[in-house]
């Protein structure tokens, strides 16, 4: 009689089946579980067995009272670490767990490392700089200058290799293709960065430009530290043209952001703030064109209306003048009529007229036998002076 198991057969009780894993498969599967299963995290511990390999990679163990984990820090991350730890140093490390498949080793892959005693000191230094800059008025709203609306040339102080430059160029060209961008190259992280950024900012003053964007793409807190540097902030405040800071991502805020005339949340945003949008300006120009022609036709219409009104008034005035004249004429005609010789003739008078129609005045004109016309009211009668008058 076989033993009845309450939860099914004992795991592995049937012996190796066809589905046997290789060690590599096991480690690969474990690696996938471990490396995909954790978000990056901060771990605090003490450094032991620190060593640097020829390759530039750092290796050490991190331990506390209860446990220990092997740590690796690849050259790229190590090169950005401002200070190399020594054994016994207490540190914060940021990274993710990892499995080295070939050896089946569990380790922690470190991206950033901070000495715990430095963290407090760094914060203190930051506060000191902030207070000094504030005291000198570098954060004053009154010294903020407005950005030019239509900049023709913009200086860009950043790394020639960084994502920030690509973003700025892409967005600026998209919005305003004709803008000239002058790249003033500088390192933006590491020990030399602050001095280089200061030098680059001074160089901006020698360029014919309308404004200046200074910044870099996202990075760790140490990566962005150069934009908290006192000399960098002071150099930024002295730049002759209006400045836009563009440091890291939305959530990153540096002292340079408060010193610049305008803070952009990201490099793309800086380009957006620096140049207008061509389509929008084209729409403005279009509406101005419409208003211009509308304005003129309004005037011509206005003048036309005024002309018409004037013509109406002239006509009315002429009418009035004419009727006044007509009255005068009528009156004068009546007077003339009263004086007319015809009226005299009607009363029985006659006028003697010579051959040429001239009035014969006085006896001398009436020579014996002379023919003349006698003008009466209703016509003319031929007449002759008697021969022996």
């Amino acid at each position: 009689m076989t033993l009845s198991l309450p939860f099914g057969p004992e795991p592995g009780a049937g012996g190796p089946s066809d589905e046997v894993w290789s060690v590599a498969e096991l480690n690969a599967a474990a690696k996938a579980v471990v490396e995909d299963g954790f978000a990056p995290m901060w771990v605090r511990g003490e450094v032991t067995g620190f060593r640097v390999y020829q390759s530039g990679h750092w290796y050490f163990d991190l331990k506390d009272e209860a446990a220990k984990v092997r740590c690796t820090m690849w050259k790229f991350a190590a090169s950005r670490c401002p200070e190399r730890p020594v054994d016994g140093a207490e540190v914060f490390v940021f990274g993710k767990p990892a499995i080295w498949e070939e050896k089946g080793e569990f380790s922690f892959s470190v991206q950033r490392l901070l000495l715990t005693n430095r963290v407090g000191a760094q914060q203190q230094e930051l506060e000191r700089i902030k207070a000094a800059l504030a005291r000198d008025g570098l954060f004053d709203a009154a010294r903020k200058r407005p950005l030019p609306v239509f900049p023709e040339t913009i200086a860009v102080v950043t790394s020639p290799d960084g994502a920030a430059l690509r973003d700025i160029v892409r967005v600026a060209r998209q919005r305003w293709p004709a803008v000239r961008l002058l790249l003033v190259p500088t390192r933006v992280q590491g020990a030399e960065a602050a001095a280089e950024v200061v030098r680059a900012l001074r160089l901006v003053d020698e360029l014919a430009c309308d404004c200046c964007i200074v910044g870099r793409g996202g990075g760790s807190k140490e990566d962005l530290a150069v934009f908290n540097d006192e000399a960098v902030c002071r150099a930024l405040a002295k730049v002759r043209v209006p400045t836009i800071s563009a440091v890291g991502h939305e959530t990153d805020v540096s002292l340079a952001d408060f010193v610049a005339d305008v803070r952009a949340a990201t490099p793309s945003m800086a380009a957006q703030l620096a140049v207008p949008d061509r389509a929008e300006v084209a729409a403005t120009v279009g509406s101005l064109a419409e208003r211009l022609s509308g304005g003129l036709s309004r005037h011509t219409r206005f003048v036309g209306e005024r002309l018409a009104r004037t013509a109406d008034r002239m006509e009315a005035a002429m009418g009035e003048a004419l009727s006044a004249h007509r009255h005068t004429l009528e009156r004068m005609a009546a007077q003339l009529d009263a004086l007319s010789p015809l009226r005299v003739l009607e009363r029985g008078f006659a006028i003697p007229l010579g051959e040429n129609g001239a009035i014969l005045r006085g006896r001398a004109a009436f020579t014996p036998g002379r023919r003349f016309d006698l003008r009466l009211a209703d016509g003319t009668v031929p007449a002759r002076v008697e021969e022996d008058a």
């Binding site: 030019p148 961008l181 002058l182 120009v285 208003r291 304005g295 011509t300």
Partner: protein
């Protein structure tokens, strides 16, 4: 004689705005309106030319050892 600096697009648009505003008021006489209109058309043409200007290359500013500056096309 040196050539006067060409007005910037901003100046051009501001002048246009002024012209349009004056054209839109009743006080201006026809001669003045025609003159304003002509000036407006010229400015509009220049503004449109500005809008159509071609893409500029990005220049890399380099400082020589003697402190002089030179520029070259940036290879992006």
């Amino acid at each position: 004689m040196t050539k006067a600096k060409e007005p910037t697009l901003g100046e051009e648009l501001k002048a246009l705005e002024d012209i349009v505003r004056r054209l839109e008021t009743d006080g201006t006489d026809l001669d003045e309106a025609l003159r304003l209109f002509e000036e407006g058309v010229t400015r509009l043409r220049r503004a449109r030319e500005r809008l159509g200007e071609a893409e500029q290359s990005v220049k890399l500013v380099l400082e020589s050892a003697d402190g002089t500056l030179r520029m070259q096309d940036a290879d992006l």
